[in-house]
Amino acid sequence: MYGFDVQSRHPTPGSQTSLREANRARIVESLKRHGHLTQVELAGATGLSAATISNIVKELSAAGVVNTAGTSRSGRRAVEVTLARRQGLVAGLHISKRHMRVAISDVDRTVVAENHLPLASDHRHDREMDRAALLLGDMVDALDASVSDILVLGMALPHPVDPLTGMISTPGLMRGWDGVAMADSMSERIQLPVFVDTEANMGGLAELRSGAARGITSGVYVRVGNSIGGSLLINGSSYRGATGRAGEIGHVMIDPRGPLCACGNKGCLEVFAAGPALLELFRDDPGIHRLRDVLLRAEAGDSGATRALADAGRHIGAAAAIISTMFDPEMIVVGGELAEAGELLLAPLRHELERATIGTIAPTVVTGMLGDRAAVLGCLAAAIDNVAAEWKPQIR
């Protein structure tokens, strides 16, 4: 999915081929960001020479990856390059605790536009959905398309949505988003079918289709950031359970006497290992305000930050062990912002997991391959899956 297989994506480093691949990727990336550019502008945006651009554009055009058209800039003739896309677009919208990410792809899974913006920690449904709709409108405009060219929007939220009411199923977890039927409300704004799921399920789906969990028949995706979510990946799709709450590892109780959690229980994993808990430790440190700051500190070898991450890893390991014992997965994929800590988080996680899982072989624990983009890519994948479903009745 997303148009590559591992082999051709990674030719021998340093070789001519790999250089050419990298240049090709740079051009495609620039086109995704800008929508359409002339060859001269591409040269500026990528830092490649005009001759290289011209050659690669010719090649990409022959392969049907880009379209070229004559145009003029400042009175001179120029060649305008756009990404070729198949008829029909789908959109993905990922709203997390501190970030919004919007992506548009064609039904062949080529991402043609992507954008993101930071969100307030205490955001509200009306404003953010309005903004998402406007952003989506701006993005399709840049593609010379309109919102009505989009077939389905896939939307990811940090917490499970009740399939019956369409509302966040545990009130209190996301202040400002309670009591709203998510899919309906978004659908009203953009006049499109909307498909909603948790960011963990969407992220898991993306890792399953095109990331670290490819070919896995039983896996767990754990998303650790400002909140903690999880997804059970069974036979190629995420298992949602009776009310969409399956796999919510963030609310597995790891200490019955622990502090109160926003969900109403006590001692949930999230209270110990999610962003706010980690940041609380650095409350008096003027240099640390975000998870990223903790990661940078840890990378620089700061013992306090390393310890905080290791403890978070241990706590996640304890909860993962419970799920692992119940469910016996082949692999646990850790994604989300905190996953960037790599082994600082994963090593203690593995240790705790091995200690507390039944039997001698614990599941493999790896970092997700898609990073921050996992959820939005999952939204696109889910949207494409739903396009087929939406289309059938119309075809008759």
Partner: protein
């Protein structure tokens, strides 16, 4: 299952998953680090314009790699405060330290030399010039008295790429750019002199959603470069999205100082309007 049983069971479970540490804690508080010196520290700043007391004993600190939002109603003194930092006004009282050293900022050139760059609300770009000329205006690179266009263009691209600014061509005239692109060009221009503190006055005012997103992302990248950023804004949502701390001014005085991640909209707004009174 009775409560009694439930307790018993969960205790065993807790015992099972507890490792070296009992009872389970998030983790011990991190060790205090070597104190970080604020990049800029303004304390007790007062400024009168005739009978108008614009600022009375105002404090403001900015650390490296931190975004501080300065919020307040119209006439609260936000602009006056940053203009003092930018060297436009001289304070009547109070002191400013820069990286731990007391300084006096007499004029904008001195502020610039210290490494304080300001992007005012009107952006001060020349519409008839292209992006490169605007970026280097007044600081043009020259080789033997001749403008080094190649070097300026190369370095402009490098800077804009580094900031992931979406501008199709650096040779486009500024008049042809959108509001968001102008704002990003103005911010990029402030970085040409390698400042350590950047002041942004209402950077997202009058911008569409996509353009505002661009500017907010740009502010995040300034932060990642380790700059101290002061953002003046009326838009509480944007402020909460990008800032690390919020400093509220009301009628020329400090009225609240919050960590962004532990404050809600309502609290900030009540501090701005004076519905609640905070003293430092």
């Amino acid at each position: 299952m009775t409560n009694r049983q439930f307790d018993g069971q969960s205790d065993t479970m807790a015992a099972q998953i507890r490792t070296e540490e009992t009872p389970m804690q998030a983790s011990p508080a991190a060790l205090p680090l070597a104190p970080v010196v604020p990049l800029v520290s303004m304390s007790g700043i007062s400024k009168n314009f005739g009978a108008v007391r614009a600022l009375t004993g105002v404090d403001l600190e900015v650390y490296p790699g931190e975004v501080v939002a300065l919020v307040g109603d119209n006439g609260a003194g936000k602009s006056t405060l940053v203009k003092i930092l930018a060297g436009v006004f001289k304070p009547d009282a109070g002191s400013i330290t820069f990286a731990g050293t007391p300084v006096s900022i007499g004029n904008p050139a001195e502020a610039h030399d210290l490494g304080i760059a300001t992007v005012f609300q009107d952006l001060a770009l020349c519409d008839n010039l292209d992006v490169v000329s605007n970026l280097w205006l007044g600081r043009e690179l020259a080789v033997r008295g001749v403008l080094d266009h190649v070097e300026m263009e190369t370095r402009s691209w490098a800077l804009l790429r580094e900031l992931s600014v979406r501008i199709p061509s650096v040779r486009a005239r500024v008049a042809t750019l959108s509001g968001g692109q102008r704002q990003t060009v103005a911010i990029a221009r402030s970085l040409i002199g390698e400042p350590s503190v950047v002041i942004l006055d209402e950077p997202t005012a009058a911008l569409g959603v996509a353009a505002a997103a661009e500017v907010l992302n740009l502010i995040e990248r300034l932060r990642e470069r380790g700059l101290g950023v002061i953002v003046i804004s009326h838009n509480i949502t944007d402020v909460q999205a990008v800032s690390d701390r919020i400093v509220v001014l009301r009628l020329g005085r400090n009225n609240g100082h919050f960590r962004t991640d532990e404050v809600t909209n309502e609290i900030v707004i009540s501090a701005i309007t004076g519905a609640s009174v905070y003293s430092r």
